[in-house]
């Protein structure tokens, strides 16, 4: 038992010293630090605000938002956070994705996070002050809630072994950070009207989903309305009292959960069912033309055969890619689109911004699309006619690019982009000269630009709207020649995605004026005033749209918790529903300017210097009658930004008191992620009994000490080079076999190339490929007792057969050749299935596997009288393995064939159960009986 403990501490340490991020495992993508940030610190009354580069202006505004939020939240929580809160700002999401404050990858949809360990709040600026304020407030609700709950546990001397469930945590953060907005309304309308709504008693079914967040927010609003304003805070204040959150809810609201659920659903139905009086589902008023994945940014192109094609971005395969769909309004069946450019598998197209406007097609057959490529967004030109990439534009000072739109003649592209200051402004690219011109340059968020017919003006959405509709996104017209900016709309609503009709005579756009995004048209009223006329009347949002003809649109719309395309006849709404909203430009007041924090002195504005604090520490002390008392500890320190980390490992494996000094195991490692090239170095001393896999399962005593240095250079998210050098003095002793004793001063050099663009399903990769090629050399530079060459070639390819079905193949060769070369081992559930674990050993090893991975059971629920258990995403496999291991002479080829099931638990561990037959004796016979093998681990 103790042996395992010591060993697992060592394994944990070795994993940690692999510099944490995915690139330091055998495979895995890379979290690349493209930028070296020059961090600075603003010190306000309650916050230390970390920012870099030219972001100071927005950091000061963010600081003000944070202090405002602090003042409000201390009132809401009846609580004050008495320690300074670290608030780390990134000027864009792309930079935010490079943060080292957490080691995992940050998806596009994450707008900030509160990191529990050091109490850090990490937030990107997403080109909108309103959103910036919202995210700061949202994350500070997490900070206050956590502080309040933990303090309450301390106050009551209750062990802090519980935390509110995620639906409550995120629901509260939304509820107390923002008003009920269009997005929340859209999601809840959809959930209630389409019967997707999940009551609290079953909310684990939608754990972690956006619907769960919004249901949480909705529930808290309901609880306040139905049960009283104080109830939300009381739920938190009663956390100490019960272990189960259900008990807390029932105690606080004084009703059982079933009754509460019933009242909540009734409250929601009262609110949303009347919508059907004058609003429609998309599938009723329009024809659905896609049925799978999330589909955005439709663009229509009429080809030489006068056929209409829709180019768009979708994640139908799991990767976001550009697709082409033949448009046919009259087709009975929904057609499958064709992939034009596959994203997220190579560095040029590292990420398509699925939920953002990122693609446009010109009449002339040119497609412009935006992808993330290394440290910035780039703009690609693709010829639809020639089916080839034409050019890629990249500007170092522009980090994110959005909303490219061609001029009518196809010679210019207008887009909005974010610069190093965080400003989101409008730019024009002249395709002939390849020059760009900046049209706006200020703190206001400008987005979704389009040219007018002759490209003399740009129409765009901006939050520069002045009071009384301050910060609302209205439409503006910028005359390029005269640099004259004018309001086109002025309403108390947000406007987005303007589009001219095909002959440029009418301007259409989205607006949430009636509660959710619908299509409106800019029009002139009877009295000559400008206004907007509602053209669609859907209960849930239209995200974007494109004209197929003068009277038909393709919309990207939200319904049934899915984003699909619909073919929509325009101008078919009944007259009784038509709505006209006139703009009153006389209301417009003076220009709004965001307030910044005012610092007392320049001493509160500092250059960041590493501030190290403890991340975690674990220790263990065990006593048993065989091995005596043993103990160990592992702890890590890192700086506030996570760029620099120290790992310390101390444990002792002495079995008698006299061996304590001799058996001290110590390792100190430093790893640094602050730049693109990550490095690590350290020293170690390991001593104790070792289990020898090499020969005959013997134990021997080994003492080794030395140091190592490693470098990792990521070429992109998908490929990297690794190099390391280790110098270690290694002494082996075996009390029973004297000749086994050996001394060595080992120098090991290795270099590896690693590739990984795989896409993962619930139990392992289902698309893409993974590859590692390693060359190494180990030699005893003092006694010449050890001298061998290492080579590893491991290639894995995953062929997608369907959305959830894949054929996986592996070909691996491992070679150690020379004096005292280490043996490789195989056998067991991870490679040669059916064969005992680690039973196939040799200095040379090859393994080949083919596996069909398919969905087996999606949901399995077992209900007992008093509780239930649910299992999701149970996957099946049919496999064939072959391989062999040998030292000098090739011995035999062995293998196995069989089937199995895999179950993933909480995305943490996968259990595997295989049944099959071993193939023995150089593939000449099958094992007479079946083997049954149960283990854990991801698919290869």
């Amino acid at each position: 038992m103790l042996k395992f403990q010591s060993k697992y501490i060592l394994i944990l340490f070795l994993l940690l010293t692999q510099i944490g991020n995915a690139q330091f495992y055998f495979f895995g993508r890379n979290k690349v630090q493209y930028e070296k940030f020059d961090w600075k610190v603003l010190k306000t009354e309650h916050f230390n605000i970390y920012y870099y580069g030219e972001f100071e202006g927005l950091a000061e505004i963010g600081a003000n938002y944070a202090e405002e939020a602090f003042d409000e939240l201390k009132v809401k929580f009846n609580h004050i956070v008495v320690t300074r809160i670290p608030l780390i700002f990134y000027n864009t999401h792309i930079h935010f994705q490079q943060t080292n404050t957490i080691s995992g990858f940050i998806p596009e949809g994450v707008g900030g996070f509160f990191e529990f360990l050091k109490g850090r709040v990490v937030i990107p600026y997403l080109s909108s002050l309103d959103q910036f304020r919202h995210v700061i407030r949202h994350e500070l609700v997490h900070v206050f809630m956590t502080s309040k709950v933990i303090n309450d546990f301390k106050d009551h001397r209750v062990i802090a072994d519980r935390y509110p469930p995620l639906w409550f945590v995120e629901g509260l953060a939304e509820y107390w950070s923002t008003d009920w907005d269009t997005q929340a309304e859209m999601v809840m309308r959809d959930a209630v009207l389409n019967d997707i709504f999940v009551p609290l008693s079953e909310i684990s079914r939608i754990y972690g989903s956006f619907l769960m967040y919004k249901e949480g927010q909705s529930f808290l609003e309901f609880a306040e309305v139905e049960y009283g304003e104080d109830k939300v805070l009381q739920i938190l204040e009663n956390m100490w009292r019960f272990s189960s959150f259900k008990d807390i809810i029932e105690f606080t609201l004084e009703e059982d959960l079933k009754t509460i659920d019933g009242k909540w659903l009734y409250w929601l139905r009262q609110k949303y069912f009347p919508l059907y009086k004058d609003k429609f589902p998309h599938h009723i008023k329009a024809k659905k033309i896609t049925d799978f994945g999330f589909n955005f940014n439709p663009n229509v192109y009429v080809n030489d055969d006068n056929e209409k094609e829709i180019y768009f971005v979708s994640n139908r395969t799991g990767y976001s890619s550009v697709y082409k769909l033949k448009y046919d309004h009259n087709a009975r069946e929904i057609k499958d689109p064709e992939i034009i450019i596959e994203g997220e598998t190579q560095s040029e197209f590292e990420a398509f911004h699925l939920f953002q406007s990122s693609i446009n097609v010109s009449k002339q057959g040119m497609m412009a699309f935006v992808t993330k490529s290394e440290g910035t967004d780039v703009l690609h030109l693709y010829s639809i006619v020639g089916e080839e990439m034409i050019k890629t534009f990249e500007w170092n000072n522009l980090i994110t690019i959005r909303g490219p739109k061609f001029s009518d003649d196809g010679k210019k592209i207008v887009f909005n982009a974010t610069d190093q200051k965080g400003f989101s402004d409008i730019f024009i690219l002249d395709l002939d000269s390849e020059n760009i011109t900046r049209l706006t340059n200020d703190i206001y968020a400008d987005k979704d630009p389009v040219f007018n017919k002759d490209a003399t003006a740009v129409i765009f959405c901006s939050d520069r709207s002045e009071a009384p509709f301050k910060e609302k996104y209205n439409l503006f017209n910028l005359d390029i020649g005269e640099s004259k900016l004018e309001y086109l709309t002025y309403v108390d609503a947000d406007i987005s995605t303007p589009h001219f009709n095909p002959d440029y005579t009418e301007l259409y756009f989205n607006s949430d004026y009636d509660g959710t995004n619908n299509i409106w048209k800019l029009t002139e009223g009877e009295n000559g005033s400008m206004g907007m006329e509602q053209k669609t009347f859907f209960a849930t949002s239209v995200f974007d749209f494109a004209f197929v003809s003068e009277d038909t649109l393709v919309t990207s719309a939200f319904e049934n918790f899915s984003f699909q395309f619909y073919s929509l006849p325009l101008n078919e709404a009944p007259d009784s529903l038509k709505k006209y909203v006139a703009f009153d430009f006389d209301l417009i007041d003076k220009k709004w300017v965001p307030e910044s924090i005012v610092l007392d002195s320049e001493q509160d504005r500092l250059v960041y210097e590493n501030e190290y604090t403890l991340d975690y520490a674990v220790s263990q002390l065990s006593t048993d009658p065989v091995y005596g008392t043993r103990g160990g500890a592992l702890f890590t320190l890192s700086d506030l930004l996570g760029d620099d980390r120290f790992l310390f490992l101390v444990y002792n494996t002495a079995e008698v008191q006299s061996e304590i000094l001799k058996n001290f195991n110590v390792a100190i490692t430093r790893v640094n992620y602050s730049e693109r090239t990550n490095f690590g170095y350290g020293i170690f001393h390991f001593a104790g009994r070792r289990y020898d896999l090499r020969e005959s399962d013997q134990f021997f005593y080994e003492r080794s000490f030395g140091g190592f240095f490693s470098l990792h250079y990521p070429f992109s998210s998908f490929q990297r080079l690794e190099a390391s050098v280790t110098l270690a003095n290694s002494d082996k002793e075996d009390a029973d076999v004297a000749f086994f004793n050996r001394k060595a001063l080992l120098l090991t050099n290795s270099i590896s190339f690693v590739h990984d663009n795989s896409l993962w399903g619930p139990t392992g990769p289902i698309d893409g490929s993974r590859f590692r090629f390693l060359l190494g050399y180990t030699s005893d530079i003092k006694y010449s007792n050890v001298n061998y060459l290492s080579m590893i070639f491991d290639y894995r390819k995953y062929l997608r057969l369907g959305y959830r079905t894949a054929l996986a193949a592996r070909a691996s060769v491992y070679v150690n050749h020379g004096k005292e070369a280490r043996r490789y081992f195989a056998g067991g559930s991870w490679d040669l299935r059916g064969w005992p674990r680690w039973s196939v050993r040799g200095e040379k090893l090859w393994i080949s596997s083919i596996e069909l991975r398919y969905p087996f059971i999606d949901q399995l629920a077992i209900r007992f009288p008093f509780f239930g258990i649910g299992f999701a995403s149970i996957r099946g496999a049919l496999f064939f393995d072959a391989g062999s291991a040998w030292d000098d002479e090739y011995e035999e080829t062995i293998g196995s064939i069989g089937t199995g099931i895999r179950i993933n638990f909480f995305n943490v561990i996968t259990f595997r159960y295989d049944v099959g037959k071993k193939i023995e004796n150089d593939f000449t016979n099958l094992q007479p009986k079946l083997f049954y093998q149960f283990f854990f681990g991801w698919d290869f």
């Binding site: 004050i80 008495v82 303090n151 301390k154 106050d155 100490w240 019960f242 105690f251």
Partner: protein, 380 residues
């Protein structure tokens, strides 16, 4: 020998670690004290003496858990301190030495009351939906009786010569006598986190519907319930025949006790949870935003306003010259009654949680990290 020595050390540690029950065998009956929250059913926080702005720390003692926004109770030479770990401690008033502890599984959110040689306190039970009112005789160290109260009780107890009044968070008011019998209960069925206050046999409180309720304790019936504000979590303060109460929106309202009709109201902008305190002319009120206001008692005109940058959720003590205001932001403020100037702020290591209690030229206050502070003060 070594083995016996180890056993002895373990036993000693166990013995030292065990807390003893509160037993005060020589307790005297009918001594002075601060026997309930606010000292009296009318909740009095005003002392017509002048306070010197220097407090001399006499002792610091520790409890097991932290504290709610309540206060300690004092009887003769003993200080009784309720904590959120379900304990009531008894400290010697002169030395701070722990005389005994009564332990229960739950939290004591409100100040205990003392009647003769008995201590009455309410425990919000851990993992149960009830609260329990305990009757404890500190002369014998025995529990005399207990009464179960459904739901949570975070409202302060009223002690009169006639009995004990308890208002549960569910809005049910109970009367218990001193021998452990429940005499009656009346339900209002509205969430109530507003400690009751009593004058002339009428009990007043607010509720989450924004109503003030005047309850006739003699007739056991509601005399009136009138909506005058938004959700009320604060206690009503009484001066002469006028009641004052703040609500969750920060509005402070003065009303006639006789019929609940509004006299004046004013806005402090942020949630008020603590009781207003008054001298003869001025009302003082703080809110969760850290604002403290002084208003004219009769007209509601603002006399001054100051902001502490903290959170005001516990009642202050009012002297003729100084408002002694605890602040959750780890401070105790000395505020000039006439101008609102913060004369001095004492900084603590942790959040100040309870309302200070003044008795026999001593002030008692409790803070997070389980600290009970006793100060000697000079008044004139």
């Amino acid at each position: 020998m070594g083995f016996l020595k180890k056993i002895f050390v373990i036993l000693l540690l166990l013995f030292a670690g065990c807390t003893r029950s509160i037993i005060i065998e020589n307790a005297l009956v009918n001594r002075d004290g601060h026997l309930q929250f606010g000292g009296a059913p009318e909740r009095n926080f005003y002392y017509p003496v002048s306070l010197n702005d220097s407090l001399n720390l006499k002792w610091v003692s520790e409890t097991s858990g932290s504290f709610n926004s309540t206060s300690v109770a004092v009887y003769d030479k003993y200080v009784f301190v309720p904590d959120l770990a379900g304990r009531v401690y008894c400290f010697n008033i002169e030395t701070g030495k722990t005389i005994g502890v009564e332990k229960s599984k739950g939290a004591v959110n409100t100040a205990p009351i003392v009647y003769r040689t008995r201590l009455y306190f309410i425990v919000n039970e851990y993992k149960e939906s009830n609260s329990i009112l305990y009757y404890f005789d500190f002369m014998t160290g025995e529990y005399i009786s207990e009464n179960i109260i459904p739901g949570r009780v975070s409202n302060e107890i009223i002690k009169t010569d006639d009995g004990i009044f308890v208002l549960s968070d569910r809005g049910t008011i109970y009367k218990f006598n001193y021998i452990g019998m429940k005499e009656w209960e009346v339900q209002t069925r509205v969430l109530t986190i507003s400690s009751p206050i009593m004058k002339d046999n009428f009990i007043y409180w607010g509720n989450s519907n924004g109503e003030i309720i005047c309850f006739d304790a003699a007739k056991q019936e509601i005399k009136y319930r009138r909506k005058i504000a938004g959700t009320i979590e604060a206690s009503i303060g009484i001066k002469n025949n006028i009641g004052f109460v703040g609500d969750n929106k920060g509005r402070l309202t003065a009303f006639k006790l006789v019929d609940g009709n509004e006299l004046w109201s004013t806005n402090t902008s942020y949630k008020i949870v603590n009781i207003p305190v008054m001298n003869e002319e001025t009302l003082f009120i703080g809110n969760l935003h850290g604002d403290i206001f002084a208003f004219d008692l009769l007209t509601g005109d603002k006399k001054w306003h100051t902001n502490t940058r903290g959170v005001i959720n516990a009642a202050p003590l009012l002297f003729t010259n100084i408002l002694l205001q605890p602040d959750l932001n780890k401070q105790l403020h000395f505020i000039d009654v006439d101008t609102g100037a913060i004369i001095k702020s004492m900084n603590y290591d942790s959040r100040i949680r309870t309302s200070p209690v003044y008795f026999n030229n001593m002030i008692f206050i409790c803070a997070d990290k389980d600290k009970v502070y006793a100060y000697e003060v000079q008044t004139k």
